[in-house]
Structure formats: structure tokens, C-alpha cells
């Protein structure tokens, strides 16, 4: 579904990304982890044709990202970092859900019954079905992120690109959100690439983990990767990692992984 080959990006001689190679199969749920400034968002922007790499190429479903995006609007559901979204517009939740459905003379538009049905379905899935007529700016940060996920889903995407979707989401709903995303990828066959700092929890839900810090240091199933050792390499220092383990289903935040206690 998404193929990234020898992708590098350098600005003024400094590498932001260097020689990135990976392939993500259709319907896979992949997480990219890494420290601040590792190039995670930059990589998402290259995949979505917002940035051009200095070298290398990206293909989605066998074609360049620009061509893929032109197939139809909404084919890629994109959730940008929360901080760069203007939440102060006087828009209702429904207005935001359909904001990317741009049309000439959109000022006069009305939502069809079919659109409302679709919105209601996804608002219900993400637990905000009672909020559709509220102003987006009056919602909490976590609820705003859920509205963004609904916005992505009403576009009937084949690929979801999510840049820190769990920002401002509370710990309980965080787990619920990952469950929903996993269900979306498995049942609807939607490919998901998600940047997150939520290292401890995601291993339980995603199919693939990528450790990025300018270079791609690891890529594989969570069970196949010595994640804690790899993350020490990626983050450049030792730290205690709280992993959500299979045998600790009732532990909200998981347990300390002994391998990282050095």
C-alpha cells in the first residue's frame, strides 16, 4: 500500500531524514515512534506529498502520492498535529466533520440525509454522538481530536495518516481510541500510519512499529522487536519504559519493563 524507498531530506546540509526504506501492507496499523525532531511529521508530510524528498521516492498503491491523492477527495484521511489546527472558527462539530468536502458556493451548502447518517454513525463510534451541534471551540482538546478522526472517516479513506491523534485525549479514552483504530484497520482494511509518543500502550494495538530518529532504526511487529533496547538507541539515553503487557490486562498503564531498568 505505502512504499518508501531511499527517502532522504536534507535542509542546508543537515539531514532531517536519511535513507528511509519501508513498506506497509494494505490494512496494516503502523505506529512511528521517536523523539522530538526525529523527522516523524516530516515523513508523514512526504508520504502525503506536502513535502518533496531530496532523494528517493514514495508510492501509494503503486503511484506517486500526488496522483494517488487526485483519485478522489478524502481518499487519505489526514489528522495534523493538534497545535496547528485553527479550533477557534465558529464552526459546529458537523461543520468540521465535513470541512474538507469543499464545493463551489459552499457558504450556502446543506448537509444531505446521507451525509448526516454517515456523520452520526462515526460520531457515535467515537463517543461524541451528542456533540454534533456544539461549537468545536467549546469542546475539550480530546473531543476535538475525536471530531478530527470522524472527519477523516466520513471521507471514506483508504489510508489514514495520523499525527499524534492522542494529543489531549485522556488515558482511558486513549486505549479505547486505539481499539477503534485497530478495528477500523482490520474490519475495513484501511491502512493506518500513526505518529505517537505513546510507546507503552501502542504495542498492544498496532501491527507494526517503526523507530525513527533521522534514520529508521527498527521496523517490524511489536513482538519481534526488542523495543526497549531499540528505543534506548533511538532516544539516545536509557529510560524506564512502561509496557502494556498481555498478562497485565487490568493494568491501566502497564508495568515497568525490566529490560530498561539499567
Amino acid at each position: 500500500m505505502v512504499e518508501v524507498k531511499n527517502v532522504s531530506l536534507s535542509i542546508n546540509g543537515k539531514y532531517i531524514l536519511k535513507d528511509i526504506n519501508f513498506e506497509i501492507k494494505k490494512g496494516s496499523f503502523a505506529a512511528i515512534v521517536g523523539p522530538n525532531g526525529a523527522g516523524k511529521t516530516t515523513l508523514l508530510k512526504i508520504i502525503t506529498a506536502l513535502l518533496k524528498p531530496s532523494s528517493g521516492w514514495v508510492k501509494i498503491d503503486g503511484v506517486e502520492p500526488e496522483k494517488y491523492l487526485r483519485r478522489r477527495r478524502g481518499i487519505v484521511g489526514y489528522l495534523p498535529q493538534k497545535a496547528i489546527v485553527n479550533w477557534n472558527l465558529p464552526l459546529t462539530v458537523l461543520d468540521v466533520v465535513f470541512i474538507q468536502d469543499v464545493k463551489p458556493f459552499g457558504f450556502f451548502r446543506r448537509y444531505s440525509d446521507e451525509m448526516l447518517k454517515l456523520a452520526n454513525h462515526w460520531l457515535g463510534v467515537f463517543g461524541i454522538g451528542n456533540k454534533k451541534d456544539e461549537l468545536i471551540k467549546n469542546l475539550s482538546g480530546g473531543e476535538q481530536q475525536r471530531v478530527s478522526l470522524v472527519r477523516c472517516m466520513v471521507g471514506k479513506p483508504e489510508l489514514l495518516i495520523l499525527d499524534e491523534p492522542n494529543t489531549a485525549v485522556d488515558a482511558v479514552y486513549n486505549v479505547r481510541m486505539y481499539e477503534i483504530l485497530r478495528k477500523i484497520s482490520r474490519e475495513l482494511g484501511i491502512t493506518i500510519i500513526m505518529v505517537t509518543h505513546d510507546i507503552g500502550v501502542i504495542t498492544e494495538f498496532v501491527d507494526e512499529v517503526m523507530c525513527l530518529n533521522v534514520k529508521l532504526h527498527c521496523h517490524g511487529k511489536p513482538s519481534e522487536i526488542d523495543l526497549s533496547r531499540m528505543l534506548n538507541t533511538v532516544y539516545g539515553e536509557s529510560f524506564g519504559l512502561l509496557l502494556h503487557r498481555e498478562q497485565c490486562k487490568n493494568c491501566m498503564f502497564g508495568v515497568r519493563d525490566d529490560k530498561t531498568s539499567d
Partner: protein, 261 residues
């Protein structure tokens, strides 16, 4: 005199509707200073036109449009903040205008009129031009309304969804330049910014959704304009200043109906 008042009201009516739509996006994108910069660029344009013997609105219009594209280009490509570039254009245009006019012996124009508006300068031709310019500007902003909404929400999202963000960005400022140049005759360079900010602020106080914000913005503009023209006639006060003072009072009054906190 009555004819002049009617002409001024008509020009105001035509211009205030599209300006209210632009006001919404300017306030929402926190670019209110841009209106000040573009309006003041007109002063330099008028001075240059005078120097070159061109007294029509064409030269100020061109100067204004070039300035707005320059502001946009330097912001997009130069890595400077919009406010800093607008400030440079603002002071350059004012300095250029004052420099040229101070050297000119034969200038018979009214600089105070340019700065604060001169109702006596509105002609039949202005009424006709204003109608066409306003209609085109309104058509433009209505056609691309949802595009601008998405751009204002998040530019990356707009690009991914096939919106020509840069093209529309420049077009926004170019069309706004034209509106500003035509508005200056009525309310002046300094006061035109009121029509780029106050409609949205009144609308935000009195309405919940974006449609209400814009509709109330349009109504408040019309009320300020018609009321200001009438008051200025009966009180024998400067029209531009009277319109803006009334608009300010409307904004204060709108707090009584405040929905958005």
C-alpha cells in the same frame, strides 16, 4: 448634497457586503494588520500616480495589488512573519507618499481626504465601478468560501484535499486590494481597516455559527454606513469618522448579545 449622500450610501452598501465576508477570514486568520498595510500602500500609490501625472484610481490600485502580492510572497517564501512585512510596506508607502507630496508644488488633492475619507469625492462613476467590483468580489469569496474555510482551518489539510492554497492566498489579497482602494474614497485610508475587523467582531458577539457571524457582520456594516452618512449630514461631521464611531458603538452594543465566549 442629497445626491452625494445617496451616492456615498450606495458605494458603502456595495462595498460593505463583500468586505464583511473578507473580514470574517481576516479576523479568523488573525491577519487584521494586513488591511492596515494594504490600505496605507494606497497612499504611496496615489503619490506615485501624481508624480507620473496619472490621477486615476488605476495607479493606486496597481500599487496596492503589487504590495499585497509582495506581502504574501515574502511571508510564504521569505520566512518572515506577515506582520513584519506588512509593517515594512506600511512605513515605506507612507514615507514615499509624504516625500513625493512634500516636493510637489502643484498638488491640489486633499491628503486629509485620502487619510480620513472624502464624501465629496464620490462620483457617479465610483458608484458604477463599486457595483461591479463589489459584485465580482462577492462572487469570488462566495465561490471559494468552503475553500477558504478549509485553508483557515488547516493549510496542510487543504493541500491534501486538492485546494490550490497559494493561488487562493494571493487571489484573496488581490481582490481585497481592489475593495480597499474603492473604499478609501468613502472612509479613508486610516478608517478602512474598521470594515475589515469590526463586521466579524460584531458577528462573533451576536451569533453562534459562521453564517450568522457573516450575516450580522453585513448588517452591522450597513447600519454603520447608512447611519454614519445620515448623522454626518445632520451633525455636519466628517463622514468617515462618523461611520467608524457608529460602528464602534455597534460593536460595544453587540456585547449585550454575546453568544461566543
Amino acid at each position: 448634497m442629497i445626491k452625494l449622500l445617496i451616492d456615498a450610501t450606495l458605494v458603502g452598501l456595495f462595498l460593505s457586503v463583500p468586505l464583511s465576508f473578507f473580514s470574517y477570514f481576516i479576523v479568523m486568520r488573525k491577519m487584521t494588520f494586513a488591511g492596515v498595510g494594504i490600505a496605507h500602500a494606497t497612499f504611496g500609490g496615489i503619490a506615485l500616480g501624481f508624480l507620473l501625472g496619472l490621477n486615476s484610481f488605476v495607479f493606486p490600485l496597481l500599487f496596492c495589488m503589487v504590495s499585497s502580492v509582495f506581502i504574501g510572497y515574502m511571508y510564504k517564501k521569505g520566512g518572515f512573519s506577515e506582520d513584519s512585512i506588512i509593517d515594512v510596506v506600511f512605513v515605506f508607502s507612507m514615507a514615499l507618499g509624504i516625500f513625493i507630496f512634500s516636493m510637489a508644488k502643484g498638488y491640489s488633492g486633499n491628503i486629509i481626504g485620502l487619510l480620513f475619507g472624502d464624501i465629496l469625492s464620490v462620483s457617479d462613476r465610483d458608484v458604477v465601478y463599486s457595483f461591479f467590483v463589489s459584485s465580482l468580489a462577492l462572487l469570488f469569496i462566495l465561490y471559494f468560501f468552503s475553500h477558504f474555510h478549509l485553508i483557515t482551518f488547516n493549510e496542510d489539510l487543504a493541500r491534501i484535499n486538492g485546494v490550490k492554497v497559494d493561488f487562493l492566498y494571493y487571489m484573496f489579497w488581490l481582490v481585497l486590494s481592489v475593495l480597499i482602494v474603492f473604499s478609501i474614497k468613502l472612509i479613508g485610508i486610516i478608517l478602512v481597516n474598521a470594515f475589515l475587523v469590526l463586521p466579524a467582531l460584531v458577528g462573533l458577539n451576536t451569533s453562534k455559527g459562521f453564517k450568522g457571524v457573516i450575516v450580522f457582520g453585513v448588517f452591522s456594516s450597513l447600519l454603520a454606513l447608512i447611519g454614519g452618512v445620515l448623522f454626518s449630514y445632520y451633525l455636519n461631521t466628517p463622514t468617515g469618522a462618523t461611520i467608524v464611531l457608529l460602528f464602534f458603538l455597534l460593536w460595544l452594543a453587540s456585547f449585550a448579545f454575546r453568544f461566543n465566549t
